[in-house]
């Protein structure tokens, strides 16, 4: 390991949000059949736990990949303030025609976090892992560069 080694750090944030699984492409009956309890008309919610992985070289002066205060500020603005105590289907435009499944929320979070994290320095987003409950998570990981 050298001073320029790449390293990944993981930061965790939490938010509580509601959602409903429902597709306009399906009839009411088909929606109930495919999504079961997740299709109930007024939705349900989760205590989401989000792990954000950021990788990059360790700065030889600060000893850090990224200043955690900067990352926290960004996560607060982009994730917590927008998603916490929201109903994802109605409160986020992204989910107008996209079911806010754990998988699709991960895609959304990747799309809104990638650029702002890259702008913080030499680091980049490398992992988004979203825990919907203690029994289920979805994740997207950046392919390792050759």
């Amino acid at each position: 390991m050298s001073a320029t080694s790449r390293l990944r750090i993981l930061r965790t944030v939490r938010f509580c949000a509601g959602h409903r699984y429902h597709s306009e492409a399906l009839s009411e009956e088909q929606n109930r059949e495919v999504f079961g309890a997740c299709n109930r008309p007024h939705g349900h919610g989760h205590n989401y736990r989000l792990e954000v992985g950021v990788e990059g070289p360790v700065d030889p002066v600060t000893g850090m990949v990224i200043n955690l205060a900067d990352l926290d500020k960004l996560l607060r603005q982009i994730v917590v303030e927008k998603l916490d105590h929201s109903f994802l289907n109605y409160d986020l435009e992204y989910f107008t025609d996209v079911i806010p499944s754990c998988e699709n929320i991960v895609r959304y979070l990747w799309s809104v976090l990638e650029q702002p994290i890259a702008e913080l320095g030499k680091c980049r987003l490398s992992l988004i892992r979203l825990w919907e409950s203690e029994d289920l998570f979805a994740e997207l990981e950046r392919e390792p560069t050759q």
Binding site: S23, V34, I99, E103, N104, D135, L136, F137, A138
Partner: protein
């Protein structure tokens, strides 16, 4: 995209092999070789990979996969003595490999299995990928 589903079961086992003398078993496995065995609250992290179905937004139907894992694995090991079911020494390593084999067979037609992680205690995790 990967999606991990977590399952739990409770079972007993004893680390012991007839290939070794009593004394050697004790030496190798320590208190895990105690004659009456002991138990754990096991956790199993089953990881799948693929693209979510554009219609449902999901990589797989949770309830259907739960049912299949319950049938092919959990129902066979929950509240059992693992040494009665598995021919090899029931170390975390061997259990993870056996469970991976069972799940690979069950999900041969999809969704794509990536790895099986057995959590024996918070300090001992075994990943078969």
């Amino acid at each position: 995209m990967r999606v991990g589903r977590i399952y739990r079961f409770e079972a007993s086992h004893r680390l012991y092999t007839s290939a070794l003398a009593e004394e050697e078993n004790e030496e190798v496995y320590g208190k895990c070789a105690n004659e009456g065995g002991h138990g754990h609250n096991y956790e199993l992290v089953v990881l799948f990979e693929g693209e979510p179905d554009p219609l449902t937004g999901m990589l797989f139907d949770r309830l259907q996969v739960d049912r299949r894992v319950e049938e092919c694995l959990i129902s066979k090991v929950d509240h059992r003595h693992l040494d009665d079911i598995i021919d090899e020494v029931t170390t975390g390593e061997n259990l993870a490999l056996v469970f991976r084999r069972w799940l690979e067979q069950e999900f041969a037609g999809g969704p794509q299995l990536v790895s099986v992680e057995l959590v024996e205690t918070p300090r001992n995790r075994f990943v078969a990928s």
